[in-house]
Symmetry: C2
Subunit: 402 residues, 2 copies
């Protein structure tokens, strides 16, 4: 059996994701799609709308055959670490191809970009460093450096101004640098960009747009046309159970408490807390009565929204710099769910798989896994700020089978 | 003008406290009573029913002339530290006498007990140590050691089985060891013991009994006869504002979050977290859905309820061992409120007072005070778990004048 790997958050699973899975399988002639999915906290430093179990069900109902969990230490890392963790897991799952969505639709510009940067790494890093010293944000500095390198030779390169291309680039980079046997491929994205608001004339909307619609108080019905029916169903089940979707706004009393419980000095131990921000964190947490006010007070030119959110996330979950950076490779494969076909695929690779396959958390102890278990607890406690119902626990939940 | 000092928590101020203030002033011929009162967290390791501003108003309306705050690092310490901080503040306030309540009503047995222990300190400590090694709790070991010393000479001694006498003993001890010019005196307590449940035939009930009645769902009316009208009024104002009274039960979602946010190793940094308890804390916090379940799971013969609560309090407020033990003396006098007469007294001592008198927190920065400000924030966030209304902030609240 042949497997295509995909790297996903599914927050929530929408028609664009459906297209991606189908095309990934079709264009690579794969029997199954293996998705490595972020757990409860995502790369933008946010809690997922609904828990990983509901999101796994969405995926399995819409063409994904196996869902494995991208551990917290990778799912909340910057692009390089995120890509490296995900790629290593898909390689361990013996996927033949990694297929990611892009505006381009062909893989060559990604490979060209990779080689351009790799062959001029010193110059590239130097330009980035210069621009950060000039007060640019990291993504800005990266973009400027890239524009300069492109002048060196007249190939087709990717546009690194688009978030999906940045991720795609890091996937290719990880595959190359880790010497994976898995090959990169790209699926042409259709219509909605990463951050685009809902456009009611099309049936594809970005996950960001769908979340905005949900949080602006629109009913689930308003987003129906952008979601496969299985996603709609899971969102409805969640909403019936918990009334609200997870967000920093709804977790805010706990985040405020977490911040104010520390001295500035103590705050510096947490991952991504930059020198100098610790005093502002305490000052603005004390004076803000909701998350938006707090973020608007904290926001400066120096740091992107995502950068700040990731820092706040690690304070929220209590993950220190030391913990986040202690591991660069996954130590297990956590199966969140599988279809019958997915199960056949797992059986077919079981003997040759290089990392332990975990279906029950209680069976092993592992420092990376223990962070994931804590993340689930922290997510659960956030949910409890607005809901009396509990989500499924890591210890007790076997893989979902569909 | 002559002042008598008293050491109080007023949680809440009841008829027994009224008797104590009146008798303290009468028996010592004092013009004013200066109360050093714990802020938002108390010696039993609990949050106060209502905030310090409401409790200050209760006190000023019922015979207390000046209320100063006992800082968190003393108010939540074991008896020795609690007594030492309070005595130093009353001495700094130039009180002539410290009058505390006791079953005895005369000071001689306290002095006898002090000298007995002081003259046999080595033997005393040795017996305590032996008994702790045998698995006794600290209060049990202390009691056994004392019973043995009493055999040495046939004086009148106090009964150290009674909580009020233990505190009284530590007040006398602090006065002696700090070479205070302030003299100890005791006021005969009437009827209710420290922990006694409400006895509806009398108008004196212990604060513990009153709190039990309030938390068992009885209405405020049920405790009316045990409270001066000003206390009743403040409790009613609070209840109208916040519906509920503060307790660990109502703060539980935050406490659970604070515990689970840490690794066992990290939990050990907090004050009073004993070696070996860190794993139980995480295990039982994860499995308990309320504070009572949690405490019952955690409770063992080795640790008293108060000891465990104090540890949980420091985890809740994020106070480390290092922070709690960095200071043994108050560095300022924080005035929470005063009557007109109290203000006259303060004017009369103003020039000779040995510690800075603070009426506005914003005016100074001090590490002990910054812990109190954080404690108020942590109390406020606990209140917000059940109330949308905010309590007064330390930065903005001037002393209450009555």
């Amino acid at each position: 059996m042949q497997a295509v790997g995909i790297i996903v958050e599914y927050n929530p699973f929408h028609n664009g994701h459906l297209h991606h899975v189908k095309e990934a399988k079709r264009t690579t002639n794969s029997d199954v799609a293996v998705a490595v999915m972020s757990g409860h906290f995502l790369q933008r430093g946010e809690p997922a709308l609904v828990d990983k179990w509901h999101r796994t069900k969405m995926a399995l109902a819409s063409g994904v055959d196996v869902v494995i969990e991208l551990p917290y230490i990778f799912s909340t890392a910057q692009a390089t670490g995120f890509a490296s963790g995900a790629v290593q897991l898909l390689e361990a799952m013996q996927c033949t191809t990694l297929a990611f969505g892009s505006e381009q639709g062909t893989i060559e510009p990604f490979l060209n970009t990779y080689h351009l940067i790799e062959n001029n790494r010193a110059r590239y890093n130097e330009i980035i460093k210069e621009n950060i010293q000039l007060g640019k944000s990291y993504p800005q500095a990266l973009f400027i450096a890239y524009e300069q390198l492109k002048q060196l030779s007249p190939n087709a390169y990717i546009d690194l101004g688009k978030p999906n291309n940045i991720l795609g680039f890091h996937y290719v980079e990880a595959i190359k640098q880790l010497n994976c046997s898995m090959q990169p491929a790209t699926v042409q994205r259709i219509i909605a960009g990463y951050h685009d608001a809902i456009d009611t004339n099309h049936e594809i909307a970005s996950a960001t747009g769908i979340r905005q619609a949900l949080f602006s108080g629109q009913s689930l019905q308003e987003v129906t046309k952008y979601l496969p029916s299985a996603s709609m169903e899971q969102l409805q089940i969640w909403q019936k159970e918990h009334q609200n979707f997870a967000s920093w706004e709804s977790f805010w009393p706990l985040m405020k408490y977490a911040i104010l419980r520390h001295t500035p000095q103590q705050l510096k131990q947490y991952a991504d807390v930059s020198e100098g921000l610790e005093n502002s964190l305490i000052k603005y947490a004390a004076s803000s009565s909701n998350y938006m006010d707090f973020m608007n007070a904290l926001k400066s030119k120096r740091y992107t929204w995502t950068r700040l959110q990731r820092m706040l996330l690690h304070i929220y979950t209590g993950i220190t710099k030391e913990q986040l950076h202690a591991f660069s490779s996954p130590s297990y494969i956590r199966i969140l769910g599988m279809t019958t076909k997915g199960q056949q695929y797992i059986s077919s690779i079981k003997k040759s798989v290089t990392l332990p396959l975990i279906s029950r958390v209680a069976a092993i102890t592992d420092p990376i896994l223990s962070i994931d278990i804590r993340a689930t607890q922290m997510y659960q406690l956030g949910i409890q700020q607005f809901s009396n119902k509990k989500i499924d626990e890591d210890y007790k939940t076997p893989p979902i089978r569909l």
